[in-house]
Symmetry: C2
DNA sequence: AATTTTTTGACGTACGTTAGTCAAGAAGTC
DNA sequence: GACTTCTTGACTAACGTACGTCAAAAAATT
């Protein structure tokens, strides 16, 4: 009644344990005919390798490195905390974290080049889009180290996968929400970005405008304000704009600087209060949801991002098959009432 | 550098392997003083038991039973598929599924009473709120079988935990969304329920009315239609109601029967089309989101619910400590644009 | 037929834990 | 002091797999 073991497979296939082991672990020195006998026995018995026992026996250890931008970015600090929190949930896996200056491609490339294949099997990095990073990544992969990008992707590079949300989809979702919030109240929609030079922000804007223009054409989308993810700048520019522009019924802030957005809205009389959608659940955006100054927050699950990154790296290191479903990070929507 | 083992604990505590094992597995015959020496060594070394090795050794098998309402409810069918899909992800765990007629407390109680402690260690059930179910559950627990409720809770019963979303919160979220969708278009809001016999529907209604009444008082909430989670009944009653009631600007369907809702709306001219919020992402609600007849879907992650239920039952059967964070199932919001 | 090469089997040790037996030692009781 | 009971240690087999060594068998090459 219990699960078949390699012993059963060996018996059914009429070969020895060693041979089954050789086939199972892809070691050489087994005739094709014997291999298929074993494969047939496995199929027939429905044998599945006991992973716990396998890991126990091989005492495999995955040594992973996460490279994250440093500085006061609370999303990144949250990611880091998440890594620490999950660390000892991973048996057989040792995770280290390095910080590099934000938006500094040279520093990132440097960090990548310094990774020692002797003590690291896989790397997850928040990518800065640049040629030297691509080059450093290629070099890293040349050393046989697995690599995935996290949160921010680096397309057409040697990175093997990307772990993060679809930012176009995130922008579309924001538009879908904001459009419905303002559907019976035509007016203007303000956009607050960090900088259009950052890939994620550009993608979110794209998605947002796609949906708003086609589905809610009565609304007028204003040209985006650039706030450089700085709450001071965001607050000042947005307050300025709001006082000089009548009929703003909605605001979508697609970068950081949520405190600035909240401040700018606070100065408005209640009847002029626009619907507001921002990104990332943090202490501040949470507070703003609760006191009613924000209507919705688009979020990505940091815990899941870390989990997926680790699992993906493990699979890449082992060369084992990858489940395409398990990798997806969803675009989450939070209102005041479904906060975790 | 590698993780400490019981050998290390024994050495540090100055006792034998056997003694460490006795302490670890709560076997009797160890003096209090020795126990604390071992505990101190464990703390000092940061020892964590290697679960893989432990399970391998004890060859433990958890035999779990899931009791779900039968019938065409696609949410429940989806749950069932999810169980099948995850089945062989669980080593050491055998899962069976039984169906009972929906909303039939006698049948559920019967099924509970028939559970054999000889072949079942734990049960997960979708509860119908009733005294005879409570009695049957108490009897089940008396046989030493662990029990958790799934999706719909049964408070003040012998069930040890509940796995599912906070349904009051789900109702509040629906109101928060629908209220915002209709904010600038005062009118009537229709409620479609399955049956007030199941706790989750009653709770959703409660949360919904709380928020709508207090935050969006201009809207008039109509008395709920009972559709018994049957698309035919839901469709007929809702279509009837809509044709006889002017000014319906929003619909919240808090049970199953999404196809009925979609059908009833389809007959309306576009300008009378209300905003619609329903529960559970299924093939049909998904389609309805895509073609624009539904605006939002409140969802619970079935895969996660199954996972949590299984882990919880395992922990309860073992009497091992339970992580209170890991159990939470979030109230998810889906629009057309963030569908997975 | 003699040889090399390839393929297979037999066997042992290890991974960390569980769980049992048996005996030695400590502590308590009369 | 003789006795019982409690506590502890030493040892062993087992769980299912990995992986190494060595020799035997089979096949391919001269």
């Amino acid at each position: 009644m219990s699960r078949p073991t390699i012993h059963d497979v060996a018996r059914v296939a009429g070969v020895s344990l060693s041979t089954v082991d050789r086939v199972l672990n892809g070691r050489e020195g087994v005739k094709g005919a014997t291999q298929s006998r074993v494969a047939e026995a496995i199929r027939q018995l429905g044998y599945e390798r006991n992973i716990a026992a396998a890991n126990l026996s091989r005492k495999r250890r995955y040594r992973l490195l996460f490279i994250l931008p440093g500085g006061g970015n609370s999303f990144m600090r949250g990611l880091e905390q998440e890594i620490v929190a999950q660390m000892d949930a991973w048996e057989f896996t040792v995770i280290s974290v390095t910080n590099v200056p934000a938006f500094d491609d040279a520093a990132l490339a440097d960090a990548l080049r310094r990774v020692d294949p002797q003590e690291t099997d896989g790397v997850a990095l928040v990518a800065t889009d640049s040629a030297i990073v691509r080059a450093a990544l290629a070099e890293l992969r040349g050393k046989g180290i697995a690599a995935v990008t996290l949160v921010s992707d680096l397309p057409s590079s040697q990175r093997q996968r990307f772990v993060g949300i679809d930012n176009v989809q995130a922008g579309r979702t924001a538009a879908s929400l904001l459009g419905r919030f303002c559907r019976w109240r035509p007016g203007r929609i303000a956009l607050v970005a960090g900088s259009m030079l950052v890939r994620d922000h550009a993608e979110r804007r794209l998605g947002f405008e796609q949906v708003l223009r086609s589905e809610f054409p009565v609304q007028e989308v204003l040209p985006p304000l650039e706030g450089f993810d700085d709450q001071e700048i965001v607050g000042d520019r947005l307050a300025d704009m709001l006082s000089g522009t009548p009929g703003v019924v909605g605001i979508y802030s697609l970068g950081a600087g949520n405190r600035g957005v909240a401040r700018a809205i606070a100065s408005l009389p209640p009847e002029r209060r626009p619907s507001v959608v921002v990104h990332e659940l943090t202490t501040y955006s949470r507070e703003a949801l609760l006191d009613g100054s924000f209507d919705a927050v688009i979020h990505q699950d940091r815990a899941q991002e870390i989990r997926v990154a680790v699992e993906l790296l493990q699979a890449l290191i082992d060369g084992s098959p990858i489940d395409p479903d398990g990798q997806r990070i969803g675009v989450e929507v939070y209102l005041r009432d479904n906060l975790p």
